[in-house]
Symmetry: C2
Subunit: 214 residues, 2 copies
């Protein structure tokens, strides 16, 4: 498999964690979002959306590309069942997907690079406004996530082993620190982060440890 | 089942389409986002995130709530298999989830009510800027989606029958019209919309036909 990603992309970081948790070998191709490599003709052929991650895989009918981190993570869990990263019951899976949606739709899209670039360009946002904007979506999201994990978690966001939801949490907390969001009100989440960063699969996926890190 | 929603919410609209496609009976409880009903104590008990939709369901262990439209739709497809709204093969499911992620993470979060309210409040955006902002994310999203469905579709976004991805497309096109986005460059998408609006399950889910529509 070939993962087209960028070391600091939250969605690529999620994908690396899941690949590592599954013990899948993969090659990394860096797409430098700062120089616009995602808009090159070659990359747009792989992903017409021009975003990372994109995972090149082999299917029964040959080579193919999966785009969107959630599609990649669900596919990985379906095709590489061990260790399972989703609960065995439908309601448990719905709970995990509820936490995934909270991060993947209600937090992350509002603080990713292309959106912040647009805020700077369209509304002249300065760095303090950017930090306040990003944090303004993270804080209520983390509050809700804390309530959900209090009901569902036992060491990880849901239950006592990592699930796909944890693959989303850890990159979002990394991003929160970059925007100077105070995480002290969220001890349940940072306890999971401590556990994750001590876990080899999560540790090896950290942005600082990627070949394209600067 | 009880669906807590709001007639104009894109995520609630998705959920109504899927419930109708599955032929599931449900009761609707309206949460008026304009008056802040989603922040009431009673609603926050159901969904600590204070967003619609939230679906009250009955599980083996009693009553429970599922939040986030993607979690609800995947749960519905798992627990009510007929008619199937996902392909039978893992790669096909990954393709459908790729289109879902494109809409649910890269388009819709940037034009929903709370984000546009924040743009008005923080950056003083006027209606022309709001329309340009919303359209600025929809147009490249619809371009990529058109390329994906050209490769995958046969009457619907993926294949020749509705999938979960179509439950996302139709509300997003409804939203595009509200922001005066020109859809003439996307004939593949509007052809699917025509087909959907003639389908009883999609038609009955339209915002104008909900009890709380004004």
């Amino acid at each position: 498999m070939i993962l087209h990603g960028y070391f600091r992309s939250s969605a690529a970081y999620r994908t690396r964690i899941a690949l590592n948790l599954k013990g899948v070998a993969y090659e990394q191709h860096a797409v430098d979002l700062r120089t616009g490599a995602q808009r090159s003709e070659a990359f747009l052929k792989l992903n017409p959306q021009g975003l990372v991650p994109a995972l090149e895989v082999t299917t029964d009918s040959g080579g193919a590309v999966i785009t969107q981190s959630t599609a990649i993570l669900e596919w990985l869990d379906e095709t590489h069942p061990e260790p399972p990263l989703m609960p065995t019951d439908a309601f448990g899976r719905a709970q995990v997907r509820g936490m995934i949606g909270l991060i993947a739709s209600d937090i992350h899209p509002l603080n990713n690079l292309r959106v912040l670039t647009a805020l700077r360009g369209t509304f002249g946002a300065d760095q303090a406004q950017i930090d306040a904007w990003a944090g303004g979506w993270m804080v209520p999201g983390f509050q809700a996530l804390s309530a959900l994990t209090q009901a569902q978690g036992a060491g990880w966001l849901h239950g006592d082993a990592p699930t796909l939801a944890d693959c989303y949490l850890i990159p979002q907390l990394y991003s929160a620190r970059r925007f100077n969001v105070d995480l002290t009100p969220f001890p349940a989440l940072t306890a999971i982060e401590d556990r994750a960063l001590a876990h080899p699969a999560f540790a090896a996926a950290h942005p600082d440890r990627q070949p394209d890190a600067d």
